[in-house]
Symmetry: D3
Subunit: 233 residues, 6 copies
């Protein structure tokens, strides 16, 4: 019996971020699975806007093509860069942490709020929710007005707690979604402080890729995700 | 360490159906988990329309209240009867096989077709897709015009294959969703014949409930799914 | 000439509630019609969440089956429990007071606000509006944070007036919808205080069932509302 | 006690059409009500496109301003010309036969098909359904490819029956909506032939205006339908 | 070579408004084009609600029919009165300033706010956005609570700046849309003060009609915009 | 006075394609403007799926950064790769030919059909229409089942004419949109054969970028399109 081998694709260049997300995935997955943390060889230290998003998609595809033999892939950046293209390149299941976070939030609550770093990213998140058909499930997308590299420390937790409490008490959210890999470390503390589920998509995304593999569901090669000519993984 | 114990709630009265679905869930879940197959003590042999759906929801809640100590619940009927009410009764994750089937289909393809038994059920399925925000992802809801109790045998597989081929070739579906627990047995054969993923929601739904549990995500008790007074599980 | 006989189906167990709603219906209907107030024989004193909603749907169907010969039915609980199933059981028109309230609000104003009892019910009401296609017509769903059994007295009217004034002045509502049968008694006073139409669905719903009957429109038996086998009323 | 007096506003210039629609309304309304049939003094013999629709709206407002003392108004043309403007001019309820037909169809079935005269009118009807939030309830808008003035005789009924049978058997409609006042005469025959409810909006619209009046619901004068300065009826 | 001749159709009776809008169009169009400013011969001095909108549509069609030989038409009133009917009457391109303003806003920003005169007009603007499919692009429709004839002077600019700053800082708008021809004069000042693009639709709408003409795109005469019988321009 | 200088960014590597599109743009723009045709230095000869789309976005940004001083940019590939990121990099207006084609189609008709090369691209186009809010304006997305490099010759025109005639006669389209730069050469012939406007977005897109520039509308730098740190053009 072969064990499940997951490629966790971090499209930014921070090995530290990769390691932190690998730790979350490993802690959630069963012991007989492997998590291969793969870090972008070029690009940006943080993905904050659409400009970095374009490069992030390229890095995702490069990492996939360099590691073709894995059983599932997790795109470990909240805006799921290149997810449709990635699915054209493989029959293995491909999951993005943003989509995974939204799926989990929609299963443990009826309304969720999304907490992001900077206001400039709000419209892109709203458009993503619309594309997933989840706009009406979202009670609000709220910005902390702190960048990706300012998401550590007690102070960072407190800021998320303040914004989250507003989302729950005033906007009717049942669940919080943290729209940035760098916030994932704060999830447990925020959840404990506010008594709501807090979804970051890393652990649940890894489990979802595993679940698709266990259920025998591979990426369809008919119609939309057909392999591009000459580019199959 | 406690193993995960799943309550698979079959709201129809057929123990045979329960057993078949338990087998699918058990085959997909890791060996150290438990699947408790629970069959409705009253109600209908098959859930075909809204009339039976009302009773099915009552059966789901009765089964949950009689088995309060489980770690997760799978509502094993495609229209997810009573799923919102069930979430009011517990902090454990609650997943419906219909929602699970749609989630898996949206991860391995870009467009799916839904195959159901009778035409009278098409509008309810369409309305469910709308509520999940997935109406635009669906290439069509197609009826076999065969009842729940006529879904076994080679003949049944052939009919699904014919309808599925139309969905793929003419309507652009990448994936098929089988909207009836009784069709789940045909999934593997249909997938092999048409070379597309076929989603029934039983195995993937069980894995999803497990994944939520592993990720530490329990049903929110703030706002929408607050426990009803005097009725907590 | 036979007079129109309406079954007003109250799915909670309060005869007092039934009597109050029958009085509203009778006051609005012409003198030659009959209103049969029917109270649930089991279930809950108040329907506040999804848990009670499941039982309410069962009560609606039980009352209908026990009174099969009526000319029209009004489901007298705002979330219209079991309305699709009820239509499978009869050719007589079936109207829910929630749907009726929204229809009337959409005819006498361009934007309405919905006022409900508890915040936990807001998401379910929003989802109901989405299902009716009226989400964009709604300026807001606002909770009084008072339970169904705290909706009487001058104090109750004042709280609705305060929330309603906010909806009109800040959110742009032209009309108010009271999303709870127990608030119906306050409708006239609130309307007089705020100079806007206030819709509760009881009187207008009874009139709508009558209007369908007068126009010769019975529930369709082709496709979606086909009678379930062996269960026709 | 004053009886209800309805203004039935026919924005085309055909007195014959007005008389036919008045007869339908009178047959449905209780005996103690009055129906004032009002025919446009200028404009077009038939409203087939957007060009005629513009003039129709003007005629509706002219008829209302010339008959200010009535208790309710029915705009007797399927695209409800001028309905929002008409509501600015009065506190009496104003109902359009198109909106009324859709409301009745949504109460007696789960999916309806709309049958219209010419293909050029299909897009405007689809846009109207979208504005009412009922696009997803509609199984299709189908054109007979016969003009407004070719809608009489057995032949006309047969053509509607043919198109309607297709809508029911192939598209899943439970109910038919006839999107043209001139087809209203065929409604009963079509309904009998196909065993489905057929909604034209004339009788049900008259009853709806009456129902709003009986329920004490007048057009809101706060926000959207505030009276235009110097133009109040 | 014939130069492009634009008909700028002002459906209110203010020649001053026509002149101001002609000046804006002329300043933006190339020197070899002609702008024919056409003012309604009857109707209202200002179009503030649905009542005036009905008459405005009639005026638009009357002006078009009196000037049939032009190469393009601009309907110079923000709610684009009669735009669909106008397209039935001609093969020349017809653009409304409201639609044009929204198009330009959607090209230079990701979220826009709409600023209008009176609260009573907000719902109609929201419904228009819905019809254009742009509801989700709009961060809010905000009323100044000043009438069309109170939109001049420094004071007027300051009020727009205050409301606009709120839209940008609190609602996340990137761009402002001024929903009233009379505000167009303030656009440049508001844009300078707030450092955002401000779209009024007059200049860009004139350029859009010209662009369609240059690209050889005339109004389709197949299906929806077929000429009405006996009414072709 | 400086003339307008447009950067036409072709993200595929075919100089022939660039030249053909530059010729279309130049023919439509006034004589005193400049069109700078810029061809991707790396990437793919044709953009057919999501895989190539990722690289195309990178090429668009690279071309923009290498030509920072232009007055407007046209992304000359139908799926508008990198359009949001491109807007973060400049204050000049940025237009995509896909968006431009849809805008023009929505101005000269009420329903359009989209004609594309391969079926695998249909879902991505549908999702793009949804993101633009134009899903309901589209009568259908139809595939020719011929690749980008098989779009020349009489035969190619005939295939588009056949599919287009079906869209007009059976699906109710008023206008055709050609969703592939390589089809643009066929537009005039198809339009002449079918008597409908045919929109390809190249000429109209160039004119739209020019129109925004003439109207003084630059890309907003508040909120969503704020410049990425250290990456401004």
């Amino acid at each position: 019996v072969t064990a499940f081998r997951l490629g966790l694709l971090n499209p930014n260049t921070s090995v530290e971020d990769t390691d932190a997300m690998v730790a979350l995935a490993r802690a959630a997955l069963p012991g007989d699975t492997e998590v291969h943390g793969l870090t972008a060889q070029a690009g940006h230290m943080a993905i904050e806007g659409e400009f970095e998003h374009v490069d992030a998609a390229v890095q995702v595809l490069a990492l996939m093509r360099a590691h073709q033999d894995l059983d599932g892939y997790l795109i470990a950046c909240f805006d799921d860069p290149g997810v449709h293209a990635a699915r054209e390149l493989t029959t293995a299941p491909v999951v993005g942490i943003g989509h995974a976070a939204y799926i989990s939030a929609s299963l443990v609550g009826r309304r969720f709020a999304v907490i992001t770093t900077l206001r400039r990213g709000v419209a892109a998140l709203e458009d993503g929710l619309l594309a997933h058909g989840l706009r009406e499930r979202c009670a609000g997308v709220l910005a902390l007005e702190r960048g990706v590299r300012e998401q550590s420390g007690d102070d960072a937790v407190q800021r998320i707690v303040d914004v989250g409490a507003h989302a729950i008490d005033e906007l009717g959210a049942d669940v919080l979604v943290l729209a940035c890999g760098a916030m994932a470390a704060a999830a447990a503390a925020v959840s404990a402080r506010l008594s709501v589920p807090v979804c970051d998509g890393v652990a649940f995304g890894a489990l979802t890729a595993h679940a698709l593999w266990l259920a025998g569901l591979s990426t369809s090669k008919r119609n939309a995700y057909r392999s591009p000519e000459g580019a199959a993984l």
